[in-house]
């Protein structure tokens, strides 16, 4: 997209107009949650957060795949890093995610573990070919955005006859998690700003239940201030009229039907499975597992890994934050024991985590 067009979505005049309109139409609190870390950062970085009317309460949901990766999943890949014949391949954001006893991949690497940061899952094909005597394990963490590329990588590996590549599949799917939040009695959410990238794959159909079953609104939004403001304003207008809708406001990137081709590849290789989310627990059907036909690539099977609910990280309130029950600065460790340089929980590690965004941008 051209830069000029993007600038339009940042136009201060237009934004101010919508903010004024919002103020005049607001009738009571609107608690909205965004479920994409890029939105979290955009809301802070643009200064939008300091301009929103007080009644518009901003909650950051389970929108960053690094943050929702369960403690046992983190421990599983940390254990794997210690194996002699394993080369772990991962996206960079997982390197500093803390497991129990403040283990992390960075430290494992310093202790001699072979860990390779890759920019694309396809890089693992080359890695596997170059190291035929080792097993290359890719840590598959992410949502519907990354799962299709990883499925594509596995298909290509099969075509090329690569036998020493495995995927440790911890993929999760967004809509199921939103349903879990809506049924949780502790949470109170009036509407969702839906993730742009995830929706580009799945379209808006899978979110329809939010309005139909729970009477809340949800809007797929772009990442510019105007995108976000318009979507919030829409939700306020609907609520005033006693309506609830699921809509797509990001039509310049997201089609209502998503990307059928990507979904096809994804479901050819993966199937839905119950999964554990950090702080939320098990959500039925919210994960992706490698299908039996593809189990030659399954790292869980190869190494006998099972994921079970275990103790949470001591002191970390990530769970309450991911559910929008607490704000990061209400965690007793925030900015004290827990900082980006010394993170206690993953929400402080990932640049898109809500604790890291609060730390980086929030003026107190």
């Amino acid at each position: 997209m051209s830069f000029e067009l993007l600038e339009k979505f940042r136009d201060p005049e237009l934004c101010r107009k919508i903010l004024d309109k919002m103020r005049s139409e607001l009738d009571g609190e609107l608690r909205f949650m965004e479920v994409c870390g890029t939105h979290t950062v955009a809301i802070f970085q643009s200064g939008l957060r300091s301009l929103l009317p007080e009644e518009v309460v901003h909650l950051s949901g389970p929108g960053c795949p690094v943050c929702v990766t369960h403690e046992s999943e983190v421990n599983a890949f940390l254990d794997l890093a210690e194996k002699d014949n394993v080369i772990l391949a991962t996206f960079g954001d997982l390197m500093r995610v803390p497991g129990h006893n403040s283990r992390n991949l960075k430290k494992a690497q310093a202790d001699g573990a072979r860990i390779k940061v890759v920019y694309s899952p396809f890089d693992t094909l080359k890695l596997a070919k170059e190291n035929p005597d080792d097993i290359v394990v890719f840590i598959g963490v992410g949502f519907e955005t990354t799962a299709p590329t990883i499925a594509g990588t596995m298909k290509m590996a099969r075509q090329q006859g690569i036998t020493n590549l495995r995927v440790l599949c911890f993929h999760k799917t967004v809509p199921t998690a939103l349903e879990a939040l809506l049924t949780d009695s502790m949470t109170s959410i009036d509407g969702f700003i839906l993730p742009g990238h995830v929706s580009a794959i799945i379209g808006i159909e899978p979110y329809k239940f939010i309005a139909e079953k729970y009477g809340k609104s949800a809007v797929v939004a772009g990442f510019e201030p105007l995108d976000i403001l318009q979507s919030l304003n829409q939700m306020i207008e609907w609520r005033n009229k006693g309506e609830a809708h699921v809509a797509n406001n990001y039509t310049r990137i997201v089609s209502d039907t998503g990307n059928a081709k990507a979904r096809e590849v994804m479901y050819e290789v993966f199937e839905p499975v119950d999964a554990l989310w950090r702080g939320i627990g098990e959500i039925p059907g919210s994960g992706l597992e490698i299908r039996p036909e593809w189990d030659q690539f399954d790292a869980k099977k190869e190494f006998g890994i099972t994921i079970e609910e275990g103790p949470a990280l001591p002191g970390c309130k990530c769970g309450d934050i991911l559910k929008g029950i607490k704000q990061p600065d209400q965690c007793p460790l925030f900015k004290k024991a827990c900082t980006p340089a010394n993170p206690v929980g993953p929400c402080m590690v990932s640049t898109e985590g809500s604790c890291a965004a609060y730390y980086k941008y929030k003026l107190d």
Binding site: C15, R16, T146, L363
Partner: protein, 334 residues
């Protein structure tokens, strides 16, 4: 000479001597260096500014310069930020065995040109060659020394509430060029490092305006990090206006593709000047009269609102913290 750097060239024997006379003296030579003594003899008295820096940039060649010119600019600028006239520098090269001789020659040549342009003499040098893999192609250390010409010298802890915060030109150019070249990205529009020696402009500035409180070059960590350092040591609050930041559209565009923030990108030919608001216009006039300061402008003010913090007013009129960078800024993955 071989067309590659060999281990022999760092041995101190005949091979090293040839390298020194044919390459280093050819491009860097001057009366003092040519004497080839163990140390340089300098006639300097009074208050001196001295600074050292090691250059390990990857890639070693980039649009707008190379590691050799950068090694001069970086150190000359650090000395000049003290309100000093840089006089002499030393340089130490650590070369990786196998480095193409042509590359080395280009680098040494660029260093010589940069030194002449900055008006400093290279008075002492050293070359070591290490086995392949022990360094990445070439590392250069330079140390510079100069005469401080103002009293008190500008200092990072001297900013006061009410001071104007000026920047000498566009930001982010160098950092984006390096990252883009490293990742092999071809930006639609051309971006180029701003690497340059700022000493002539800085000397003019402090001679005419000794009231300058702080001079700093926002290199590693960029403008945001440098301003955080200044607000912490001066215990003042820096209030910046995002709209007033001079950033080239092509740098903005490249940053938005890579998920980078230009405020955290390194600059190698820009400086921050912090001085009482009543002198700001005069300072800007001096800066804009020099090609290296033609885009100079005021980007903010020092206040006592949130001591130790940098606050950014966004184009929407919102306010947010501009914090220090934690670790390295990496291109966005997802």
């Amino acid at each position: 000479m071989s067309d590659k750097v060999l281990l022999d060239y760092g041995s101190g024997g005949r091979a090293s001597q040839r390298l020194i006379s044919d390459l280093f003296l050819e491009h860097l030579g001057n009366d003092e260096l040519n004497r080839l003594n163990d140390a340089a003899e300098l006639a300097m008295t009074g208050r001196l500014a001295m600074s050292t820096d090691s250059f390990v940039v990857d890639p070693i060649f980039f649009p707008g310069g190379n590691i050799g010119s950068l090694a001069v600019h970086g150190t000359v600028n650090d000395v000049a930020m003290m309100g000093a006239i840089p006089r002499h520098i030393t340089c130490a090269y650590i070369l990786e065995e196998g480095l193409p001789m042509d590359d080395l020659e280009q680098i040494v040549k660029a260093m010589g040109e940069a030194a002449r342009h900055a008006g400093v003499t290279i008075v002492s040098g050293d070359t070591k060659v290490v086995p392949k893999g022990a360094v990445d192609k070439i590392f250069i250390n330079t140390t510079g020394i100069g005469d401080i010409i103002v009293d008190p010298a500008p200092s990072g802890d001297a900013a006061k509430p009410g001071d104007a915060v000026l920047i000498s030109g566009t930001i982010g150019d160098h950092g984006l060029t390096i990252l883009g070249t490293r990742e092999g990205l071809d930006f639609e529009a051309k971006v180029e490092s701003d690497s340059a020696s700022l000493n002539h402009l800085l000397v003019k500035l402090v001679q005419e305006l000794p009231e300058v409180h702080v001079l700093r070059d926002p290199t590693r960590g960029g403008l945001a990090t440098t301003l955080n350092e200044i607000t912490t040591s001066s215990n003042v609050c820096c209030e910046l206006v995002e709209n007033s930041m001079p950033i080239r559209p092509e740098v903005k565009g490249g940053c938005s593709i890579l998920g980078l923030d230009p405020l955290y990108l390194a600059n190698e030919g820009k400086f921050l000047c912090i001085l009482p608001q009543e002198h700001a216009d005069k300072a800007l006039e001096i800066m804009r009269n020099d090609p290296l300061g033609k885009d100079a402008c005021q980007i903010g003010t020092m206040t006592d609102a949130n001591p130790g913090k940098v606050v950014l007013e966004t184009p929407l009129g919102g306010k947010r913290l501009l914090n220090m960078l934690e670790g390295e800024q990496l291109p966005r993955i997802c």
